[in-house]
Symmetry: C3
Subunit: 481 residues, 3 copies
């Protein structure tokens, strides 16, 4: 699988789900240790025991989109470990301006650096980079997809303040659709058994595929709105995580118990309107201020924000004890020091591999569309639709099936958005099928001769006929004979 053919497995951190719970805990443990090394004044007594560990290593910052926090905190983290940094922070002054592809760029920079942090405007770009890079890729934010190291800071902030995430009620507010930080964050909340309360701006609800992963992969239960609406009108959707693996018979009881506890919001995560993703300015974007947080429900709410903010979080909160967002930003350096330290094996060759138990990304089978035909990821901002990368991306999907529900969907290998409905054609047999059972059987058999299409019309236009029609005609033909 590894395109570089090296023996040591390379770990890429593209999604928060590329880290197990135990790895995340290890990162937090190390970050705490680094924090203990921090100065008691504004810098004069900095201990810096950790300062020369990385002196043989170079970090490359490869940013195709603006950044202050992510880039500078990664660079500061590397430097505070004693490492070195090379930076490409402006695509207009890099070879991207000459038309170089991402796939070529990471293959080249992977020879100059030992680890690459990448930010890109396309969903799934970090996964593409990981496919081609000879060194670890860390996703510093790819389009609206994910931003896993921000989530590490977010969860670390919550753990530091609230000890444990288990049973915590965490509201997330604003642009839940375009915010990559939200997507990584809600997966982590679910994995650490927090409850998730959605307060989206109008039309900026959590994407369908994130919602379905919460429910299907991370075992969240959604609670009918009627159950909490009276007391929590501002909440649009609510996911609770049961303490034990849920049996259908227990859901209602579990949910009722959980609901009774939603009297208190432990944390409110506010996000900026992602103006760079949407065409129009939102007129009706929710604003969190002291007035909003005045009820008893919010009396001890930790207020988080990935920053930058542009009006949705009032400055008057800055001196409020509940404001955690500057602390959250400050954790950027020790958290990233810990991640780099583990990725590069700086601590006496201790590495992430040793901690990879607990949660691990489900091993869904992969389906590679053989030709430049048939179905494509239907997220227009996915890296697969970037014309420059055409030769380097694959028409590759995870097959996510659920026998109980008789469902089968295709999840884009890069941006992880889902195709819920599709048909599957067989090149040599001339027919296509919509039957889940047939599809699953075919995918198990042999994918070389298969082509997925978005629907009947696409399959028919490509010269295929529906399997049932074909069969019935054959049967007719047979009976006539």
């Amino acid at each position: 699988m590894d395109s570089t053919g090296r023996n040591v497995p390379i770990r890429h951190i593209v999604s928060i789900n590329d880290l197990s719970n135990s790895e995340i805990d290890k990162i937090f443990e190390m970050a705490k240790k680094y924090l203990d090394e921090l100065p008691d004044t504004w810098g004069r007594q900095r201990i810096g025991k950790s300062m020369n560990r990385a002196s043989h290593f170079v970090l490359a910052s490869l940013f195709y989109e603006p950044s202050t926090r992510t880039r500078l905190s990664f660079e500061s983290a590397m430097l505070r470990l004693g490492g070195r940094v090379i930076t490409s922070s402006d695509p207009s002054t890099s070879s991207a301006a000459k038309g170089e592809t991402l796939a070529d760029t990471v293959r080249v920079i992977g020879n100059y650096a030992d680890v690459i942090v990448i930010r890109h405007h396309r969903d799934g770009a970090a996964r593409l980079a990981a496919e081609y890079s000879p060194v670890p890729i860390i996703n510093g934010g790819d389009g609206s997809h994910e931003h896993p190291t921000q989530t590490l800071c977010d969860v670390f902030t919550l753990k530091t303040r609230h000890k444990d995430l288990k049973g915590l009620n965490v509201a997330v507010s604003g642009d839940l659709k375009g915010s990559r930080t939200i997507h990584s964050f809600v997966y982590a909340l679910a994995r650490f058994n927090a409850n998730i309360l959605l307060m989206p701006a109008k039309g900026m609800e959590l994407p369908m595929h994130v919602d379905s992963r919460l429910r299907e992969e991370f075992r969240c239960l959604t609670v009918p709105k009627a159950k909490y609406e009276r007391e929590n009108a501002s909440i649009d959707a609510l996911y609770v995580t049961p303490d034990e693996p849920h049996q259908l018979s227990l859901i209602d009881i579990a949910v009722d118990i959980k609901i009774s506890k939603i009297k208190k919001i432990h944390a409110m995560y506010v996000t900026r309107f992602q103006k760079e993703r949407w065409e129009q300015k939102d007129q009706d974007y929710p604003k969190i201020d002291a007035h909003f947080l005045k009820g008893s429900k919010y009396a001890e709410t930790s207020v988080l924000h990935p920053l930058p903010r542009v009006g949705e979080l009032d400055a008057s909160l800055d001196i409020d004890d509940r404001a955690m967002y500057f602390q959250q930003a400050a954790y950027g350096v020790p958290i990233r020091m810990a991640l780099l330290s583990l990725l590069l094996g700086l601590e006496d060759h201790m590495s992430l591999e040793q901690f990879a138990h607990g949660f691990s990304q489900p091993k869904n089978p992969i389906y590679d569309q053989p030709l430049a035909t048939g179905i494509r990821c239907n997220n227009r901002n996915c890296i697969v639709h970037d014309s420059a990368e055409t030769q380097y991306v694959r028409n590759r999907f995870f097959v996510v099936s659920n026998k109980t529900r008789a469902s089968c969907k295709l999840r884009c290998f890069y941006c992880e958005s889902d195709i819920d409905d599709f048909v599957l054609a067989h090149k040599h047999r001339g027919w296509y099928t919509k039957s889940i059972l047939n599809i699953l059987k075919l995918l198990r058999e042999n994918d070389k001769d298969l082509i997925a299409y978005a629907g009947d019309s696409e399959a028919i236009a490509a010269g295929f006929r529906h399997k049932d029609n074909l069969s019935s005609r054959r049967r007719k033909h047979n009976s006539a004979a």
Copy 2:
């Protein structure tokens, strides 16, 4: 006062007046020491005894305006001290592009770095940054306000060439209005007892508030033009600094003695037309070349320029012995090494505080306008008028009064420009006053109920009446009763 609540006082270098004369001398002493460490060839025998002092420290360059000299010499200085550097040199690729405020940015970057050098297009931006930063802010140039570290290089160049600034005749030429380097420089000249000869381009005279500070705070005497015009037609204004604190009776004598010495210009400081500050290109900008400097008056003149130059200083001078501007630029590294070393306490915990005697910034009382009403700083390029920073700036002024002259003005806390005329209203009493004595009395009493307005009409429009009118009406009313 310190917004971060830490015990150790943080020193910010926003204005040249944030450093005492003894501190400046200490910086020069250390810079000389660093210069002695420099290589005798072009780099091969660099001694670098100083190289690992700062290895635990990170400098952040935060530049909102173009820079080569200031940024690269600060970064080189930090690196030559053994320190580390993170850089944000392009607002279009930083979170500023997403609309983040300066106040938020420095609070965040202050967690990644131990000291921040900032450049900004707004006057007073560095002071705003200093209000919010948890680590020292060094002003690398804020609008047309100040550029204190350039002045350190300038004065160091003069001291190296001329031993002492006392009694030196220093001409400053060009855009005296828009050049921040000039403003810091003339304060330093006055403080070190040099005489200042102004040769502004037409319409680019020294700002009023800089002129008045030179006269009122730095004890400069202005000389009537008639006294020097015949021999020095090119000089527009002349400030001399008396050797001793001046008594009115001695001024004329002192001045006459000084004037007799203006036969010689010891230094000529040339500045570029600040095209980024003004709308139109100046057609008639003074050009300094060998022809201009041909008289005996200029026979030994040191020619300085903060660079870059764009035509106002002729290249033919480059090989002239009087040209000091490349040497001046070269001093950028050792001077900034010394400043960083003292700010960060690198030399066996020796720090700036220990040298803070001699001149210190006058402790003018502060007046905080309580509401978003009444008077505002009338410098349209001041940071207080940046709409993004509205929630973070205060309507804050120094009260600069002079009982002898019965004058009282408000000096903007950020950009230090003056409001010479204003009226003061009392919220509960319903009146406003223009009387200096009343104003001073009110400001001493209680500023919570006061609102300053630009003039009568603004105060009246806000519903106040003139105190005298009110009193006379009351008197009328009383007499009628």
Copy 3:
């Protein structure tokens, strides 16, 4: 000659011809040593014996044009040597935005750094920088002129794969006119006795002056197209280098022997269409893919490309054993480590000077046009035509003469393009001459009174008369008398 007046000679690497063959070999030897230090996994066992050699040195990256590979690999090389880096990678955020000249910029940055890598859009800019810099200038690409460190990587790649360049058949394809990498590369090929096969895109043939230097300075023999056309239709021109200094009588034999070996292409060097240099997109640009390389001639061809590529080199080749271009890019770091190490004398004061035998740049006499009149370099993209640099460039040429052919041309000191035809006027005598013998004689005598013009009309317009006419008139006059 050295404008800085220092004793130790400074070596600038502007052209590949600024390095002797023995110096290039020394660089390769050191690069190999650095490669042996590289990690056996993706970074975990990096040895880094070389890591602290440069800790007292600062490299400045001064890039006026976009770059990824050159800048980042230079910076990575410097950091891996233990050195420090300052970067100016965007002219819009540097003092260039305020109008600062290159000559001023390098004089200033030369005080902050110990070595400067420069990239510029103007041909010859690196030579101008070298004239003013107090520290070594390394040309990171100047317009369409040269890119010597890319050539070091290219030749190192060939040597590593093919042991020796002698007799190797190397085809170069694409934009041979605009590609600076090609110009440095073909000089090196000739100097190391490879044969050069040109496959230009239509209208993008090798510039005339490069062709003539190959033939005249580097002793290449051009082979009549008829000799190889039948078997090698795609080759536009062919240069072979004889094993021994050629005598005219031996040429044909040597060529015939060489030609018989052109059955095999050892290496194919592909280049991108330099869209930033040309106004229109080329519609008919050659594309190298598996189909092109299918013949037996190409069975073992090393495929090289300086990258980035934008379509002229098919991605399907990436997994082909013949593809060397990513390896070639990877050599960027060790090669540049070696160059920096030798330039800065990091290896126990071993320096480039000690290896300067073998080839050395011919010492052509220099002709300085005394006034801002007469002939100018006729390359419109040459740095001498940059209006900002007017005061800093000289109207300076090498006089390249060949007595056998009775030819004399002027080669621009900066961009090295040739002026083949010109006339030479004598200020005091009132005439000009086109005679090569006269010109050579005049140039030997005294160049203070000479002015070169592009042709008769320019000389006549400037008030000169043709020497012969003048003489004949004089003769007439004399005979009349």
